[in-house]
C-alpha cells in the first residue's frame, strides 16, 4: 500500500522532509509506519488520519495520510 506520513518540524531528526511516502505490505496498522521509518515510538503522542486521532492499531488503507504528533504538552 502507498502511505504518506507527515509531521511538524519537531520530527525532523527522524523524518526526512515534511512528507514521506512509504510502501507498506497489506495488512498494516497505523503504528507500523514507525518501524518503517525508524521513528522512536516514545516520541509520538498520537496518530491522526484526516485530522482525527486514531488508535495505534487502526488498519491502514492504500492512500492514507498519517500525521504524527508529539505528546501534547503545556506551559
Amino acid at each position: 500500500m502507498n502511505i504518506t506520513v507527515t509531521a511538524g518540524s519537531w520530527a525532523r531528526a527522524w523524518l526526512p522532509g515534511d512528507k514521506v511516502q512509504l510502501t507498506l505490505p497489506h495488512p498494516a496498522v497505523v503504528q507500523d509506519v514507525l518501524a518503517a521509518l525508524n521513528f522512536p515510538a516514545d516520541e509520538v503522542g498520537l496518530f491522526a488520519i484526516n485530522g482525527i486521532a486514531v488508535p495505534q492499531d487502526t488498519p491502514l488503507n492504500d492512500g492514507d495520510t498519517v500525521r504524527l504528533f508529539p505528546v501534547a504538552m503545556g506551559g
Binding site: 519537531w10 525532523r12 486521532a53 488508535p55 501534547a72 503545556g74
Partner: protein, 587 residues
C-alpha cells in the same frame, strides 16, 4: 546562595519603607524556589486577614541552581491568592532569577502597604523606594520604558516586573509582567502588588560569583547545553512552532476546549494551528536568561487604526494556552483577531487564561439571556466578535460596573452572583486550562496544590489511556501524586518544566554535585515531601478542603477526548488522592 550554606532573604516593608537582610541556614532543606517560597509564605502570612490585607506577604524565590545550568530559568512567586482565597503559587522566567542572583538575594519578602505608588529599585546595596505616581495608570510598555530610563547603568543586568491597570484595580486574576514577554500569570499576584501600591520591581546587580570547580561544572554544563540545543532533539518542539502544536493535536483527539467548553473541536483548526501562526505571523523568538531553546514565540499583530493604510504594529507573544483561552474558547477564527485579544490582555495586565474563560462565560450568559446588555455587559459581548471581547477586557480592568467588578473576581464568584455555575469553567476557583482530555486533566487540576495542569500533568496521564479504557482511581491518584511531588523538587531548582525530560534524577544529582552539594535520591524525595507538606499546611490554614470542591456540571456533560466523565469516578479519584495527601502531610 550558590556555594553558601544559607538562603539570603531580603525583607521589604512597604509601610515603613525599610528593608533588612537575613541569612537563613534553616531554610537550606527547602532548596529554593517553591520550597523556600512556601516556607517564607507560611512564616509571614496572616490566615486571620483577607488576601489583600497590607500585612500579607509577596514572596519571590529563585532556585538552588538558578541560571548556571541550561533551562534552569524560573522564579517562584508565593502569596495568598485573591482569586481562590488560598495558596497562590506562580512561576515566571525572563530575567528575574538571573537578576536576583546578580543582586545577591535568594528570596524577597514584601509586606506592608505604601501611602502612594512606588516601584522598588533593588541591587546589591539594598532597596530604594522610587516614586511611581507618574507610572500609575500606565501599561506595561510605558512603565518598563520609564523605569529603564530612570535606572541607568543597569543595562543587560536587570529584570523589571510590573503590573498593569488590572493589578492596580485589584482584579483577582491580574498578572505581573516580567521583562515584557513573560508573566507571573495565574491566581492574581498582580492584585497583591496593586493592593500594596507596588507598581513594579526593578532588580539588578553585578555581583562576582567565582566558580568553585570549573572542570566539573563546565563538563556538566556542556552536556546539558548540547541536549537543550540539539536540532530535532528533546527541546526542539518547544523551539520550532512551540506549544501551539497542541491546537492540532488536541483538536485531533477532541480535547480542545471550545466555545466555553460547549465542545472540544473546531472546524478549520489548520487556520489557527501552530504551523499557521509560525508560517504567517511569527517574526522572532526570545529566551529567558540561561536557556538556549528560545521558546518565546513573538508574532506581529498589525492593527489598522485609520482608513488609508494606517497601521500600528505590536509584538505579541503567543503560546498554546493563549490560543485556547483567547481563541477557541471565545470562538475567534482569525489569527490576527486572536493576536488582537492577546495584545489587549497584555495591555490590561490580566492573566490570559482566566480572562479568556471569564469572557467565555459572559458570552454564554448573554447568549442565554441570563444577563443583559443594559445592566450588565454594557455592549453585546459575543463569541467570535473580537471588538466586543476586547472592550469587555478593558471593562474588567477598570471595574466599569458591578457586573464587571464581579467578573474581575473570577468566574466562580461571578456565577455565584449572576448564575450559570454549571458552565463557569473553573476548578478549585481557578479558571480551567486548555485540556479536556479525561479524569487526569479535570481531577488533576482540582487536587493540585495551585489548581494548575502543570502541578501534576494530569493531561499526560489521560493521553496514555485508550478512549474508554478502564479507570483504576487509586492508580490515577498515585500517578498524580508522584508527579506532583517530583515537581515540588524541580520547582525549587527552579527548572523550566519544558526541560523536565532533561532533568531526570541522575542529572539533578550531577548538577548539585558540580556545585559542591551532594544530594541523594532519598534527600531529594524528602525535600519534595517537605515542600509539599508545607503547601498543604498553608492551604489548610487558609481554609481549603479538597473534599468540598464542587466541579461544574459541564465538565461531565461535554465529553473529553478519553470519553464522557462520570462524577462519581471523579470523586473516587479525589478521595484516593486525599488518602495520599494524608500520608505525605497528615492533618
Amino acid at each position: 546562595m550558590l556555594y553558601e550554606k544559607f538562603i539570603r532573604v531580603l525583607y521589604i516593608d512597604m509601610t515603613a519603607q525599610t528593608s533588612r537582610v537575613e541569612e537563613r541556614e534553616d531554610l537550606m532543606p527547602y532548596l529554593g524556589g517553591v520550597g523556600v517560597g512556601a516556607k517564607l509564605l507560611e512564616e509571614n502570612m496572616r490566615p486571620d486577614l483577607p488576601p489583600l490585607a497590607p500585612e500579607q506577604p509577596i514572596v519571590l524565590a529563585m532556585g538552588a541552581l538558578s541560571t548556571i545550568f541550561p533551562v534552569i530559568t524560573k522564579t517562584a512567586a508565593m502569596f495568598i491568592s485573591p482569586l481562590t482565597g488560598e495558596l497562590g503559587e506562580s512561576y515566571a522566567g525572563g530575567r528575574l532569577a538571573f537578576a536576583m542572583q546578580q543582586a545577591g538575594y535568594d528570596a524577597l519578602v514584601i509586606t506592608g502597604r505604601a501611602d502612594q505608588p512606588y516601584y522598588l529599585s533593588i541591587d546589591e546595596t539594598g532597596v530604594k523606594f522610587r516614586d511611581a505616581r507618574p507610572l500609575w495608570n500606565t501599561n506595561r510598555d510605558d512603565a518598563g520604558r520609564y523605569i529603564r530610563d530612570n535606572e541607568p547603568g543597569a543595562r543587560g543586568k536587570r529584570s523589571i516586573i510590573r503590573i498593569g491597570q488590572a493589578g492596580e484595580n485589584e482584579v483577582a486574576y491580574a498578572c505581573v509582567t516580567v521583562d515584557r514577554y513573560r508573566h507571573f500569570g495565574r491566581l492574581g499576584l498582580g492584585a497583591v502588588f496593586g493592593s500594596k501600591l507596588l507598581k513594579a520591581v526593578h532588580i539588578s546587580g553585578e555581583r562576582s560569583l567565582p566558580v568553585h570547580d570549573f572542570k566539573q561544572y563546565f563538563g556538566v554544563f556542556r552536556q546539558l547545553y548540547a541536549k537543550a540545543d540539539q536540532p530535532g532533539g528533546v527541546m526542539s518542539k518547544y523551539h520550532d512552532q512551540g506549544t501551539p502544536i497542541n491546537i492540532e493535536a488536541l483538536n485531533a483527539i477532541g480535547g480542545l476546549p471550545t466555545r466555553n467548553l460547549q465542545t472540544t473541536r473546531v472546524d478549520d483548526a489548520e487556520t489557527i494551528s501552530g504551523e499557521a501562526f509560525a508560517e504567517n505571523d511569527l517574526v522572532r523568538k526570545q529566551a529567558c536568561v540561561g536557556c538556549p531553546v528560545g521558546c518565546i514565540h513573538i508574532a506581529q499583530y498589525r492593527r489598522a487604526f485609520n482608513p488609508g493604510f494606517d497601521y500600528e504594529t505590536h509584538g505579541v507573544s503567543y503560546d498554546y494556552e493563549l490560543l485556547f483561552a483567547l481563541g477557541t474558547f471565545v470562538e475567534l477564527k482569525e489569527r490576527q483577531d486572536i493576536l488582537a485579544l492577546i495584545h489587549e490582555v497584555e495591555v490590561c495586565g490580566h492573566d490570559a487564561m482566566s480572562a479568556g474563560v471569564a469572557l467565555g462565560w459572559a458570552c454564554e450568559m448573554l447568549d442565554r439571556g441570563l444577563i443583559n446588555v443594559e445592566e450588565h455587559t454594557l455592549i453585546p459581548v459575543k463569541f467570535g466578535d473580537v471588538d466586543s471581547l476586547r472592550q469587555a477586557l478593558r471593562y474588567i480592568a477598570s471595574a466599569e460596573n458591578d457586573f464587571y467588578r464581579a467578573l474581575g473576581k473570577g468566574v466562580k464568584h461571578a456565577a455565584e452572583v449572576y448564575g450559570g455555575e454549571d458552565f463557569a469553567m473553573q476548578l478549585g476557583g481557578n479558571e480551567m486550562p486548555g485540556y479536556h482530555t479525561g479524569y487526569g486533566s479535570v481531577v488533576g487540576v482540582v487536587v493540585s496544590a495551585r489548581h494548575s495542569h502543570l502541578c501534576n500533568a494530569g493531561y499526560s496521564i489521560d493521553q496514555a489511556l485508550q478512549p474508554g479504557e478502564h479507570i483504576d482511581p487509586a492508580a490515577v491518584a498515585k500517578k498524580l501524586m508522584t508527579e506532583e511531588l517530583e515537581r515540588c523538587m524541580l520547582n525549587s531548582l527552579v527548572i523550566c518544566l519544558f526541560a523536565r525530560k532533561i532533568y531526570d534524577r541522575d542529572t539533578v544529582r550531577k548538577c548539585f554535585a558540580a556545585v559542591g552539594r551532594e544530594m541523594t535520591d532519598d534527600e531529594l524525595d524528602e525535600a519534595a515531601r517537605r515542600i509539599y507538606a508545607t503547601k498543604m499546611r498553608i492551604k489548610r490554614a487558609l481554609g481549603y478542603d479538597n473534599s468540598q470542591v464542587k466541579i461544574p456540571k459541564r465538565f461531565f456533560e461535554t465529553p473529553t477526548s478519553y470519553g464522557q466523565l462520570n462524577e462519581n469516578t471523579a470523586k473516587e479519584i479525589i478521595d484516593e488522592f486525599n488518602k495520599l495527601v494524608n500520608e505525605v502531610s497528615p492533618v
